[in-house]
Each structure stands twice: as structure tokens, then as C-alpha cells.
């Protein structure tokens, strides 16, 4: 599952980008950090022998979605807000506490619980080429695939309705 010397830099970049996303005062910066983070993840996907997903990640996420974000940010002129962190100390402290709790839980679980046994020896290389993924999609997962189309349609209609409602008001 990849060399440690590949993993650690990539992981550091991903974490840095993530923290940047969350902490940036400027929303544009946040968006750019997020793009970086997504690109890093795409690299991970390649390492993990998922070339199709990696491509989709770059194209759909880092490309289409993040462009949409940037577009909206700039449309609204909402790059900056006063005060990064929300008011309400209790909220902040509780959030931090819960975040630590989550990490601790997982960490403890990694050391304590049995992780599912790896079968690397069995399948050193998996076939996840776009052709393979396409075949799986249209053979084994054709029903969910069709449902997603419906989902997208509904989203599209929803946006249109939302706009129409706005205008009428």
C-alpha cells in the first residue's frame, strides 16, 4: 500500500492543506487549500491503485466543485468575515474536546481492536482501470448508478425552483 516515504510527505501535505482550509481567514485561501488537499488525496488514490477514482477526484472535486465554490465566493464577495472563530467559548471548547475524543477513540481502536486481515499476498495488483470500473458499474451496480442520475436530476430541479422562488419574491 505504498512506500512510507511516499506516504508521510503526502500525508503531511494533506494535513497542512486541511488545517489551512479550516483556519484561513480568507475564504479564497480556504478554497485553494482544499484544492490542494484534494489533489493530495488523488495522489493517494493512485498509490492505492485506484486510477479512475483519482482522475474523477481531480476532475470532479478539484475541478468542477471547487470552481463552483470559488465562483460563489467571488459572486457574493464574501471572502472575509470578521473573526475566524465563532462566538461562544463553550461551543469552541466542546468542539475541540469532541475532536480529541474522536481521534483518541480511533487511535485506541487501532491499537486494541483487530483490524480486518489483509490479503495482500492474494492480490498484489487489483484491476481498477476505467474499463474495469465501468464494467462493474454497469454490471454489478447498475441500479445505484441509475438512482444517482435521479438524484442529480432532483438536485437540478431543486436549484431551479430555489432560484424561481427567489425571483418571484
Amino acid at each position: 500500500m505504498g512506500n512510507i516515504f511516499v506516504f508521510i510527505p503526502l500525508a503531511l501535505i494533506a494535513l497542512t492543506a486541511a488545517v489551512g482550509t479550516v483556519t484561513s481567514r480568507n475564504a479564497i485561501h480556504s478554497a485553494l487549500f482544499l484544492i490542494l488537499n484534494m489533489a493530495t488525496l488523488a495522489a493517494f488514490y493512485v498509490v492505492l491503485q485506484a486510477p479512475f477514482i483519482a482522475m474523477a477526484q481531480v476532475a470532479v472535486y478539484a475541478g468542477a466543485i471547487m470552481v463552483l465554490f470559488l465562483f460563489v465566493i467571488m459572486l457574493l464577495g464574501a471572502e472575509q468575515l470578521e473573526g475566524v472563530v465563532a462566538r461562544g467559548r463553550a461551543q469552541v471548547w466542546l468542539a475541540l474536546l469532541l475532536g480529541i475524543g474522536l481521534i483518541v477513540s480511533f487511535g485506541a481502536a487501532l491499537f486494541v481492536a483487530d483490524t480486518p486481515s489483509a490479503n495482500e499476498g492474494l492480490l498484489d495488483v487489483i484491476d481498477a482501470s476505467p474499463v474495469a470500473v465501468g464494467l462493474r458499474l454497469f454490471e454489478n451496480y447498475v441500479f445505484p448508478f441509475e438512482v444517482t442520475s435521479l438524484l442529480l436530476l432532483v438536485a437540478m430541479i431543486g436549484v431551479v425552483v430555489l432560484r424561481t422562488y427567489e425571483q418571484r419574491k
Partner: protein, 810 residues
């Protein structure tokens, strides 16, 4: 018993008569009321009420000289003349003669039909060896839990059939007589409705096979008596007192006392025997008496004779009420307020004898008590019965001496004769009691109807007088004219020959003159009392005195009414009554002569000793022995009282005949012969030394006065106390207002202020609202409206669940 299946017709016929006259009678008698019925029925009712109201005005209006010729329009004016005159004058309501005939004859026909049924029953009994039967009609009611079953069934035996024959026979004659007597009365059909209704209830009383059904008839005839005494309830006397209505009420109330005793007796009988049917009670009573078994009542043990002594004493009180014995006789003289045929039928011949019927019917119970009393075990109720009857006979007879009202004399005479019957029943000679009951029914009905005829004639004469004389010529006292006062009569034998002769026969029969019916029946009683074997010699003395009195006042009455010179112009103008009235009188007169034949006793030297188990050959005796069980018991020795038939005693018979003739003659020629009593004059008998004051004392001090002077005011005071102190002050003001109302108000206040306001409203309703609001006030703080806070909650849930799955569940 199929052989008597037609018996219910006996009750059905009078009932049909009641329905006919109640529903259609008025339509026949007064068709004018119904002519415009379809268009304006309310007007018809207005007419009816108008008549009642206008009755009071007629006396004053008569003074205006209304010229109505009663002769020509053929209105027989008598008691009902006021109505007749008024009707003619107003031209609105008058009785249709044809309609009257329909109404009256239909009622009479129903009565005659009932008589026919009674005759058929008589022959049916003859055909069945005198064996009676119980004819069931239907179940009246049944209470399984109390083991109580009362059938509606008719007891057909020689005793009840005898009564049926008398009641329906005499009743039919009186019905027919009434058609003439009531002619012109505005309530003609109502009268016949009541008369038929009376027959119906009387026949229920007679034909009952249990005490409860008998009691239905008992109360029913009491009701009819009330209705008929108060038939002219709208009449008032000079002081405006409604005396007829008062008399009716008095009779009703006096009877209640007796009825209460009857109810107690029935309750005792039911507790003891668990049935009210005659035959089972008698059989069980004999059985218990022979076995000497005790009866458990109120948790104590009583001998059967003790219970029966109480029952029979209560029966005596009941009979005293209905049959007008001391101390409850006071209602009967007042009952003469009713129309005279009613007095004849109900208050002389039939209803008042139902007390005697009750005693005779219950003879077994009386005989058991008598036997037990011989041994000194129980209270001697039958002896009390005998003495009550005897004393009543004498007492009432003495009161009759000084009465001037022709009907009042007969009324006290009736009380007296009922006393003879009760005495006979009390002495255990039930057949003699029944014998006297029958003959008395004939001659007393005859006397009353004759008196009615006299009154009818005198009143008729009085009104003829009115028509011929100008009103200015009338003497002042004319306004107080009483057609029943014997002092305004006299010499009527010339004007009313038929009435005179039948009345004379009735008077002689009542006085006990040989060979009329009264002689035989009265002397049978006297002979038995005279016999020293039975220990009733004091009764004999008392009854003989009463018999002398009877002859005396009858002689006085015949003299005052029919002999001498007319003492008032009205008597001169009197005319004989129409034949519809005289024919029943003649029939009754014949019966009063020959009725003694039904029980002419065994006369030793005239007849061979008859071959009969009881040693007698009397017709009525043989006939009734089939339904008087104590005869058989005594014959079999069960009651240790061998029954001996009354034997005619020549000594007793001759003595009483002589005394009666002497008394009759004394009254007729000595005391009243020379000095006919004028109106407002003292009775000459009061001037007789020694005897006169005694009679006067009886005249002014009857029980009536005692009741009125002491009992009634005391009762009024008690009622006053009960009403104002007990009921109003204590019960209403204190118990209701203070205890019940105040407590209730307090409780209500507690319920409304504390329980409802604070409990239900405060704690439950508003409390739950306040609780909800308080909780919501806290919980709403969590609803900040900030998405972040909600997201935090969501995240908390995620972390907790993940930690659980990873660390605990994993």
C-alpha cells in the same frame, strides 16, 4: 273444570255494561250534547259544565216564576227535578226518553244476564252433586323468590253461588227500578255505569278463590260505594256544605280502618301459609291444628290457633268497617245521601253483607279459634264477633227510634240487622247468618225501594204544589222542605196503594212476623242463642231486645208514613210511582213473603226425623254444607264441636212473635196513634217515662258525636302538629334546610372551591400546563436557532456512537 267454563261470563256481562254506559251512555241519554260534535266539540263540554254550575242558581231562578208545565212535558220531577226544570228552561240539555231506556235497559240486561249465569251455575252445581270447583282465569302474579303465587280464579261452590244469586237477582230488580227512579237525571248514564261497576266488583268479591282477589272486590265495591254516595256531589246544604261529597268521603275513610285490618290479616296469612288461596289455607290450617305444630313468625314460635285468633280478630275489624258494626258503623247512616236505589242495593242488600260473607267464607279459621278458645288457649275471637254483632244490633236499633228521616231509620235498621248476621256468624251458625242475609236482602231492598217510591211520590207532590200555587203563597218553611222527613208524610196509603202494601209486607217481614221471611231467619238465630248448650244466652237477651226495637220502629214508621191524615200539602199531592218502579217492588214483596221457605226448619211433631248424616233437612243447610267445611270437620270430630242444626223452638218463636206484634202495636196505636208528629215537633216517645230519656240519650250520643267531638279534633290537632311542627318546622326547616341543605351546600362548596378549583383546575389542568411550560422554558434554551449548536449536538452523537462501537461493541 270444564263444566263451569262459562263462569267468567258472570264477570264479563257487568263489565260490558260498564263499558257501554261509560263510552256511549251519555250519547244515548243526552244526544243534544253530541249533535254539533264534529264542528264544535268544546261547546258540548261547556254545556256540561254549565249544567253543574247552574244547579246552584235554580232555587233563586225558580222564584222568578218559570212557567213550565211538568205534567205536560212528562218530566217526573223528584230528586233530579232541579236539573230537569233547568234543562227545559234553557232548552239545551234534556234527557232523551228513548236514550234513557237504551242506557238503563242495557245495564239492566247485563245485570239480568249475570243473574242468568248465576242461575246456570246453580243448576250446574246441582248437576254435579253440589261439588264446587275453582275456575282459573289467568295468573295474576307470581313471585318465585317469595314462593308467592296469586291466581285470578273463581271459586264456584254453593256459598258463592248463593251470594251470586242474591246479588245479581236483587241487583237486577234494582237496576230496573232505577230506570224509573233516575228518570230525568242529567247523569243518568253515569249512574248505570257505577251500578254495573258495582256489580262487577261485588261479583269479583264473591267469586274470589283467594283473599287478595277478594280484597280487590272489597276495595272495588268500596270505590263504587264512594262514587254512588257522592253521586250528587254538587249538592250543598243551606250553609253551603257539600254534604253528599262529605258523606262519601266519610264512608271511604271509615272503611279504610277496616281495610287496614284486612291487609294485616292477609299479611299474617301469607306469612303463615305462603299462599292466599282459600282451600289450601283451610286445609293447611286444619292440618297444623291437628298436628299441634307451631308456626314461626317474627323469629318466635306460635301455635296455629294464636295466629288465627289474630287473623280472625283482624277480619272482625275488616267486617266491622264494611258491614257497619260498632265502632265503625258511623258511615252507613250518612251513606243515605246517595240515590235511594243505591241505598237499597249497596247499603242494605249486598255490599254491606260482604263482611258477613268474609266471616262465613273463613269459617274454618273461626272454628279453629273457637275450639282453641274453649280450652282457654287463645283469645276467643268468635265470641267477640258474636257480642259485637249483638250489641250493634241493639244499639243501632235504639238509635233508629228517634230518627225522622225515612231512609235514616232504614239505615240504622240495616246496621241492626247486620248485627244479627254478624252475631249469627260469631256463634258459628253460618247457615243462619246466610239465611238472614238472603231474607234481609229481599225485605230491606224492598223497604228501601219502597221508601224511594214514597220519596219520589212526595217530592213529585211537592213540585205539583209549586206549579199550582203562586210562590207568594208558600209558607216560609217551604224552602227547607225535606221530602225524606216522615213528619211531612202521612195518609199515603190512599195515594200510593201499591207502595203501601209492599212496604207493609217489608216492615212485617223485618219485624219478624209469622210467616214472613224475617220470622224464620231471625228466629233461627234466636233459637240457637237461646239454647243453653252453646253459652250464648246473653246474646239471646240482647238480640231479643233488638228484635223488639225493630218491630217498634217499623210500626212507628208505617204509622207515620202511611196512616193518619197527610201532614203536609205535598203528601196530599203525592202520586203512585210508575209501574217500572212498582213491579220490582211487587217481585221483592213476594220474595220477602216466601223466602223463609228455603230454610224452614225441622219441626219435631210435624216431620219424621230425617235420614240425614247431620240430622237436618233444611234446604239451605243441605245446600251450603258443601262449601262450609267446618260442618264436615265437626261431623268427623276433628274440631270436637259436633255441629247441631238449629232446631225450631216453639217457645222462642212464639215469644219473639208476641213481643214483635206487641211492639209493633205499641208503636202503631199507643205512642204514635193519637198524635201524629208535626214538623219541628219532639218525638212523643221522648215523653215516655224512664224509657224516653234512654232513647233520647241514644239519639244524641251516638258514636258519631264521639268521633266528631273527641277523635276528630284530636286527630286534627295531631295532624296540625305533624304538619307544622313535625313536617314543616322539624323535617323541612331543620332536617332539610339545616342538616341536609347546609351539609350539601357545604359539601358542594368544598367540591367546587377546593376539589374543583384547586384540585382539578389548579393541580391537574393548570398544573400540567405550568409543568409543561416550565420544562419547555428550560428546553427552549437548547433551541438557539444557531446551526452550529445543532451540529455540535449531532457531532456529539457521532463521537459517542463511534466510541461505543469501536471500543465497547467492537
Amino acid at each position: 273444570m270444564t263444566e263451569y267454563a262459562f263462569a267468567p261470563l258472570l264477570l264479563l256481562f257487568p263489565l260490558i255494561g260498564v263499558l257501554f254506559n261509560a263510552l256511549f251512555g251519555r250519547r244515548f241519554v243526552q244526544p243534544a250534547l253530541y249533535e254539533g260534535e264534529d264542528q264544535e266539540e268544546p261547546v258540548a263540554h261547556d254545556h256540561a259544565t254549565e249544567v253543574h254550575v247552574d244547579v246552584y242558581e235554580v232555587k233563586t231562578e225558580a222564584g222568578e216564576g218559570v212557567d213550565v208545565d211538568h205534567e205536560e212535558v212528562d218530566v217526573h220531577v223528584h230528586d233530579a227535578d232541579a236539573h230537569g226544570a233547568l234543562d227545559q228552561q234553557h232548552g239545551e240539555i234534556h234527557n232523551d226518553p228513548t236514550g234513557e231506556r237504551w242506557s238503563g235497559w242495557f245495564a239492566s240486561l247485563m245485570s239480568l244476564s249475570a243473574f242468568g249465569v248465576a242461575v246456570a251455575l246453580f243448576f250446574s252445581l246441582m248437576g254435579h252433586d253440589f261439588h264446587g270447583a275453582v275456575v282459573p282465569l289467568f295468573d295474576w302474579f307470581r313471585i318465585p323468590a317469595a314462593d308467592f303465587h296469586v291466581p285470578w280464579a273463581m271459586q264456584i261452590d254453593t256459598l258463592s253461588v248463593t251470594m251470586m244469586l242474591v246479588v245479581t237477582g236483587v241487583g237486577s230488580l234494582i237496576h230496573i227500578y232505577s230506570i224509573g227512579y233516575m228518570h230525568g237525571d242529567p247523569n243518568f248514564s253515569r249512574f248505570f255505569t257505577y251500578l254495573n261497576l258495582f256489580l262487577f266488583f261485588m261479583l269479583i268479591l264473591i267469586s274470589a278463590n283467594n283473599y287478595l282477589m277478594l280484597f280487590v272486590g272489597w276495595e272495588g265495591v268500596g270505590l263504587c260505594s264512594f262514587l254512588l254516595i257522592g253521586f250528587w256531589f254538587d249538592r250543598v246544604d243551606d250553609d253551603g256544605v257539600p254534604m253528599n261529597a262529605n258523606a262519601a268521603r266519610k264512608a271511604f275513610v271509615a272503611n279504610r280502618v277496616g281495610d287496614f285490618a284486612m291487609i294485616l290479616a292477609m299479611i299474617l296469612l301469607f306469612w303463615t301459609f305462603h299462599t292466599l288461596n282459600f282451600n289450601p289455607i283451610f286445609d293447611e290450617a286444619i292440618h297444623l291444628f291437628e298436628e299441634g305444630q307451631a308456626v314461626s313468625l317474627f323469629g318466635m314460635q306460635f301455635s296455629i290457633a294464636t295466629v288465627l285468633a289474630a287473623v280472625t280478630t283482624l277480619f272482625l275489624i275488616g267486617a266491622a268497617g264494611k258491614s257497619a258494626q260498632i265502632p265503625l258503623y258511623v258511615w252507613l247512616p250518612d251513606a243515605m245521601a246517595g240515590p235511594t236505589p243505591v241505598s237499597a242495593l249497596i247499603h242494605a242488600a249486598t255490599m254491606v253483607t260482604s263482611g258477613i260473607y268474609l266471616i262465613v267464607r273463613s269459617n274454618v279459621l273461626f272454628e279453629i279459634v273457637r275450639v282453641a278458645a274453649e280450652a282457654g288457649d287463645v283469645f276467643p275471637a268468635p265470641t267477640l264477633v258474636a257480642y259485637t254483632g249483638a250489641i250493634t244490633a241493639l244499639f243501632a236499633g235504639l238509635i233508629a227510634f228517634t230518627r225522622f228521616d225515612i231512609k235514616k231509620v232504614l239505615a240504622y235498621s240495616t246496621v241492626s240487622q247486620l248485627g244479627f248476621m254478624v252475631a249469627a256468624a260469631g256463634m258459628g251458625i253460618y247457615v243462619a247468618a246466610m239465611f238472614h242475609l238472603i231474607t234481609h236482602a229481599f225485605f230491606k231492598a224492598l223497604l228501601f225501594l219502597g221508601a224511594g217510591s214514597v220519596i219520589h211520590g212526595v217530592e213529585h207532590g211537592h213540585h205539583s204544589l209549586h206549579d199550582h200555587l203562586q210562590h207568594d203563597d208558600l209558607e216560609p218553611e217551604e224552602h227547607g222542605f225535606d221530602p225524606q222527613d216522615m213528619r211531612v208524610m202521612g195518609g199515603l196509603r190512599h195515594q200510593m196503594p201499591v207502595t203501601f202494601w209492599v212496604y207493609l209486607i217489608g216492615a212485617l217481614a223485618l219485624s219478624g212476623i209469622f210467616p214472613l221471611a224475617g220470622f224464620w231467619s231471625k228466629d233461627e238465630i234466636l233459637a240457637h242463642a237461646y239454647n243453653p248448650d252453646y253459652g250464648f244466652f246473653p246474646v239471646y237477651i240482647i238480640l231479643t231486645l233488638a228484635a223488639i226495637g225493630t218491630a217498634f220502629y217499623m210500626g212507628r214508621q208505617v204509622k207515620m208514613v202511611f196512616f193518619g191524615e197527610p201532614r203536609h200539602p205535598a203528601a196530599e199531592e203525592a202520586h203512585e210511582s210508575p209501574s217500572i218502579m212498582t213491579i220490582p217492588l211487587i217481585i221483592l214483596a213476594v220474595l220477602a213473603v216466601v223466602a223463609g221457605a228455603i230454610n224452614i226448619p225441622y219441626i219435631p211433631f210435624l216431620q219424621e226425623v230425617p235420614d240425614h248424616p247431620h240430622g237436618f233437612n233444611l234446604l239451605l243447610e243441605q245446600w251450603l254444607e258443601h262449601s262450609i267445611p267446618s260442618f264436615h270437620l265437626s261431623a268427623e270430630g276433628l274440631l270436637n264441636m259436633p255441629y247441631k242444626p238449629p232446631v225450631f223452638s216453639i217457645f222462642v218463636g212464639a215469644l219473639s212473635l208476641l213481643l214483635a206484634l206487641g211492639a209493633f202495636f205499641l208503636a202503631y196505636s199507643v205512642i204514635y196513634g193519637k198524635r201524629p208528629t208535626e214538623q219541628h215537633e219532639e218525638d212523643p216517645i221522648r215523653e215516655v217515662p224512664v224509657f224516653g230519656p234512654i232513647i233520647s240519650a241514644f239519639g244524641v250520643l251516638p258514636l258519631d258525636t264521639l268521633y266528631m267531638r273527641y277523635l276528630i279534633p284530636g286527630f286534627n290537632r295531631f295532624a296540625d302538629w305533624a304538619a307544622y311542627r313535625l313536617d314543616w318546622a322539624f323535617w323541612h326547616d331543620f332536617v332539610h334546610d339545616n342538616l341536609i341543605r347546609d351539609f350539601f351546600v357545604g359539601f358542594s362548596r368544598f367540591a367546587s372551591d377546593v376539589l374543583d378549583d384547586r384540585g382539578v383546575d389548579g393541580a391537574l389542568v393548570e398544573g400540567s400546563a405550568r409543568f409543561t411550560r416550565a420544562v419547555a422554558g428550560v428546553l427552549r434554551l437548547t433551541q438557539t436557532g444557531y446551526v452550529r449548536n445543532y451540529a455540535l449536538g449531532l457531532f456529539l452523537g457521532v463521537v459517542v456512537l463511534l466510541a461505543y462501537f469501536l471500543l465497547v461493541a467492537g
